[in-house]
Amino acid sequence: MKDLNKLTITEARELLDKKEISALDLTKACLKQIEKFNPELNACLAISSDLALKQAKEADKRIAKGESTKLLGIPYLAKDNLLTKGVKTTAASKVLEDYIAPYNATAISKLEKQGAILLGKTNLDEFAHGASTENSAYGVVKNPWDTERVPGGSSGGSAVAVAADMCIFALGSDTGGSVRQPASFCNVVGLKPSYGRVSRYGLMSMTSSTDVIGPITKNVEDSAIVLSVISGNDKKDSSTSEKEVANYLKNINKPLKGKKIAWVKEYFPKTLSKEAKESILLAKERLESLGAEMVEISLPATEYAISVYYIITPAELSSNLARFDGVRFGFNYKEAKNIKQYYLESRGRSFGPEAKRRIMLGTYVLSSGYYDDYYVRAQKFRTMISREFEDAFKKVDAILAPTAPSPAFKIGEKTSPLDMYLEDQFLSAPSLAGIPSISIPSKFVSNLPFGVQLMSARFEEEKLLNISNILFDNLSKENKKLNLST
């Protein structure tokens, strides 16, 4: 048998139900892996061993009684912008250095009810602002495939933890690519569900109109399992859909014959390297060989996506981060003489450089005289982007795209904020339109993992998971296994 921490959810479920392994052994194996590799990789910010071992023992009792749920006894890690009762939640910010949430996020509660085991919290770019996890106040996360490189971001810690088998699965959050891009960089599967599919209650708000919680897993099947658990309407988040949660596993192996998949010319700009293009072309060829019909389409609004995203996102997050005033939570400057100085100093001394940059940008585009020129205009472009997708999905079942323009870059390599924002060039349009998309590993580029992205129409996760599962299985022959040395 392979090391327990290397199991997928499906494999672990079978062994747990047959009582060949215990949830306690599985949990201990994951904790051991964290202990061994976290000092170098810095993927986890908090490790809640005591709680995890307690939850594991409870899970074993439930299993002994013959109970089985999808995730009973399965250990996982959660991104540190998800509130976890009793376990520190910092959002990788100095602002919330010692913050312990008084309640659980809905996604965490749903996992807890199933009997999943929370191992701890993963590192991220401060408040999820970034595409490299270099913006964490608690140190950069290293990519296990090459520790001189970034793991992507902002859910870099979650992607690394799954790639390095520190857990069976992890939760991330995706606002404009933060689950998909690190999944691409770390050779794992990252799903951004439709906006409104998963409750945002207890997820620290960044861009309220695009934020979504999504699973990071070792394969597509596991992604479907986790999604089916965390999805659904929640009275505590009025933007969640009442649409029934589908059985995402039911059609996951359905052959692709008759499926139409779009190939978008704007997703292959000149800046894309030859090898990256080859990796996407390989996915295209495989889809065709699996019986899908490839259709070429055009999405001209693609060129505006980054501009639109980097107006709307800073605008929303500058408002959302106004709550960190040093009064209700976190860092505060006690020596202030008056309330204004108190706000200025508490915020100025605790937010990191990228959070400040985005708060400034958001305040600028929302300020008097600029609101119509930037914010309102961007929202009109957003309508254009959404409409193009709607029209496309009248003709096709899915759209194929690169996840990121290149594989993982070196730590410290991208010094201009704009260069970093361009990491999201294929990722932000689906976020703005609220449609689901997934990154799965394709052929390596420059000996590094490289993902392809598939998108589908809103709430068509069942179809998206089916297509990506078939492609994932086919492409896995090209894939490599990570060898971590101690």
Partner: protein, 99 residues
């Protein structure tokens, strides 16, 4: 488009962020570069498009206005989230706002 130093200082004040002279200089440069990039949006014709107000597809989501009672322990935990929680007065004590 180059954003002036005065504008950056004004924005920092609106955002309640105390910035150093070095930070002001850096953000003046960064914001100018980002705004110049997003200015590409100024060229297109948008008269066929209304601004997006929501992407959830939902309209007017109502629920009953119910009072959910929290336990004393839960109330205390919420209060304790604040660094200004006063144990004696069981309240959050803030700086004077009105003179």
């Amino acid at each position: 488009m180059k954003i002036s130093k005065d504008t950056v200082e004004h924005i920092a004040d609106l955002a309640r962020l105390k910035l150093s002279a070095k930070e002001i200089e850096k953000y003046q440069e960064d914001l100018s570069a980002i705004v110049s990039y997003v200015d590409q949006l100024k060229k297109a014709d948008l008269h066929n498009y209304l601004a997006t107000e929501q992407i959830s597809g939902l309209h007017n989501v109502y629920r009953e206005d119910e009072v959910l009672e929290l336990s004393e322990e839960e109330k205390l935990e919420l209060l304790k989230s604040s660094p200004h929680y006063s144990e004696d007065e069981k309240q959050i004590k803030v700086k004077r706002i009105l003179k």
